[in-house]
């Protein structure tokens, strides 16, 4: 310990510039690896989520990019006709979210309402931390209570069994909602078309919808629900007919993609992008490692004398190796702390901005994917550190002690 302290204070920190240079280079490497690892994991989480939709006979709706939405031309009667056709001919998973409402809560967050039907709920199998699953066969009546699920953030203000009287955004009328369960913390939903992008349900309300509910809802819910509607146990011909019905009644062209088409899309679009990202990251890491090696070697040039004097008076190469590993270990540790703090600041920023859809729970608001990315950074630091230390030691060993002392 004494010799290590001596090396740190009298040798490494005496030439502070090299330590700072090394620290900055490691920081760049760590930031790059952290960013890539988190993005890849987030994409795969999103892929796992949509994979449950990828069953035989399942078709996911997608508004044709060339189709412009003219809200004035779309009437409620038109959307209702589409739903009538859907109800009579198909089994479908309905989901839409992002309807904001002011619901008093301890954290002063704006609450996002998510609406889903039974098929969607069954497909996703949301995990609950308290309470029981939603039931969808309730009577739609102003005097009756609608069962709901709430996110963890609302569980203190609205525990299981409590009721909320609120003007439901899409019904434009006051309803009584009864909390039936609480979602597990950090439950999320990935965007179908940007798998790495997530919405967290910590400050959300899950409202079950049935045919009656959709009939009473305004056009916003009806239309939004059609955008990502998932048709189950059907055929290509049937969804082609549905697409025509939608075109006739809404004036919008919808495409329906099958399991295989979605899988091909994933392979072509996501895997290709992930490969490019991985290659860019690898190139950056190689460049940064080369720069770190250069930085290490020029520092060796200047502090070689100190090393060789110590070797002359009895310091062994194995002890020197241990000192190097400890020194680099400290640098990597500080770097990990910095990355951790930046991530915590970014996550905590969502709390400060009251950004309810991105707010997360965890140690300093960090979630699983952050810890995974930090672990990847830690492992890659070990590899980078080993490469640099071995090159440094090789360089020191190549120079005879007598020559080193003379320098």
């Amino acid at each position: 310990m004494k010799i290590f302290k001596f090396f740190i204070t009298k040798i490494f920190l005496r030439k502070m510039i090299f330590s700072i240079g090394m620290f900055l280079l490691f920081f760049m490497a760590n930031y790059t690896i952290f960013t890539t690892a988190r993005l890849i994991l987030s994409t795969f989480q999103g892929y796992q989520e949509i994979k449950i939709m990828d069953q035989e006979g399942t078709y996911i709706a997608n508004l044709d990019p060339d189709s412009n939405i003219d809200m004035d031309a779309i009437v409620e009667n038109g959307t209702q006709k589409v739903y009538d056709y859907l109800n009579n001919n198909f089994k479908y998973a309905f989901y839409t979210d992002g309807f904001i409402a002011s619901l008093p809560n301890n954290d002063d967050m704006e609450i996002s309402f998510s609406y889903m039907n039974e098929e969607y709920y069954k497909l996703n199998q949301f995990e609950l931390s308290q309470g029981t699953d939603l039931n969808f066969d309730y009577q739609f009546n102003k005097d009756k209570e609608i069962p709901i699920l709430v996110g963890k953030g609302l569980s203190k203000t609205y525990p299981v069994g409590s009721t909320i009287k609120i003007e439901v955004p899409v019904l434009e009328q006051s309803m009584t909602l009864k909390v039936q369960g609480v979602l597990k913390q950090n439950a999320y939903h990935s965007n179908f078309y940007a798998l790495n992008s997530k919405t967290y349900y910590n400050f959300s309300v899950f409202l079950p919808v049935n045919q009656e509910f959709i009939e009473h809802a305004n056009i916003d819910l009806q239309l939004n629900g059609l955008m990502d509607i998932v048709i189950l146990q059907t055929t290509k011909e049937k969804v082609a007919n549905l697409s025509e019905i939608m075109q006739d009644n809404l004036g919008l062209k919808f495409n329906f993609f099958s399991q295989k088409e979605n899988y091909d899309y994933f392979n072509e679009y996501y895997l290709h992008s992930l490969k490019i990202m991985s290659i860019i990251t690898l190139i950056l890491i190689v460049i940064i490692t080369c720069l770190s090696v250069w930085n290490a070697l020029v520092s060796i040039r200047l502090i070689l004398k100190d090393f060789t004097i110590n070797l002359l008076v009895g310091l062994s190469y194995s002890k020197l190796k241990k000192i190097f590993y400890s020194y680099f270990g400290i640098l990597f540790f500080i770097n990990l702390i910095v990355i951790f703090l930046i991530t915590a600041y970014s996550r905590y920023g969502n709390w400060l901005r009251k950004d309810a859809t991105f707010v997360t729970y965890g140690f300093f608001a960090l979630i699983g994917m952050d810890w995974f990315a930090l672990l990847v950074v830690f492992l890659s630091d070990i590899i980078i550190g080993m490469i640099i230390i071995e090159i440094m030691l090789r360089k020191i060993k190549k120079i005879p002690i007598s020559l080193g002392v003379l320098q």
Binding site: G21, T35, S197, H272, S273, M277, V298, L302
Partner: protein, 148 residues
């Protein structure tokens, strides 16, 4: 140039350090011009593009490391030159001029690349300003080695 503190390896190293920083800045500019279809690639790139100036600035630290180690290695040479009649002012001026020449050469090279790729010619200018400051600071440091 016979009295220069620089050897071929030093010039080469400094050229590479400058070239790396200028190239990195040009790569950032190039990525900005790309119209990426992939949302995920865009999201990945944004992590870096949003902090372009900071990232480039941090990388310029390799030039600081170069100047620092260069002068440290040459302290005996500086002292010996003074012993044989050279002056610290001459050594400082020559060192500064040579650094500026290398910087000018690499900057010209980056301008040629910018013209070829149809990029904004002024995008690398702030780096020149930063590097000139580094050169001036390191030139002041030469005086430190007047006495061995």
């Amino acid at each position: 140039m016979g009295r220069s503190l620089f050897r071929f390896v030093d010039r080469f190293e400094l050229c590479i350090a400058y070239l790396f920083c200028f190239s990195l800045n040009l790569i950032f500019d190039y990525v900005k011009t790309l119209s990426l279809d992939s949302y995920i690639l865009k999201a990945f790139m944004e992590n870096f593009m949003d902090h372009q100036t900071l990232i480039i600035f941090l990388f310029t630290f390799i030039v600081v490391v170069f100047h620092y180690q260069m002068l440290h290695r040459k302290k005996t040479e500086i002292y010996c030159r003074i012993l044989v009649g050279d002056t610290i002012l001459n050594i400082t001026i020559l060192y500064t001029l040579e650094c500026l020449m290398i910087l000018g050469f690499v900057y010209l090279l980056s301008i040629v690349i910018s013209i070829y790729l149809n990029f904004n010619l002024t995008s690398n200018l702030y780096l020149v300003f930063i590097f000139v400051i580094y050169i001036l600071i390191s030139a002041i440091q030469v005086r430190k080695y007047e006495n061995f």
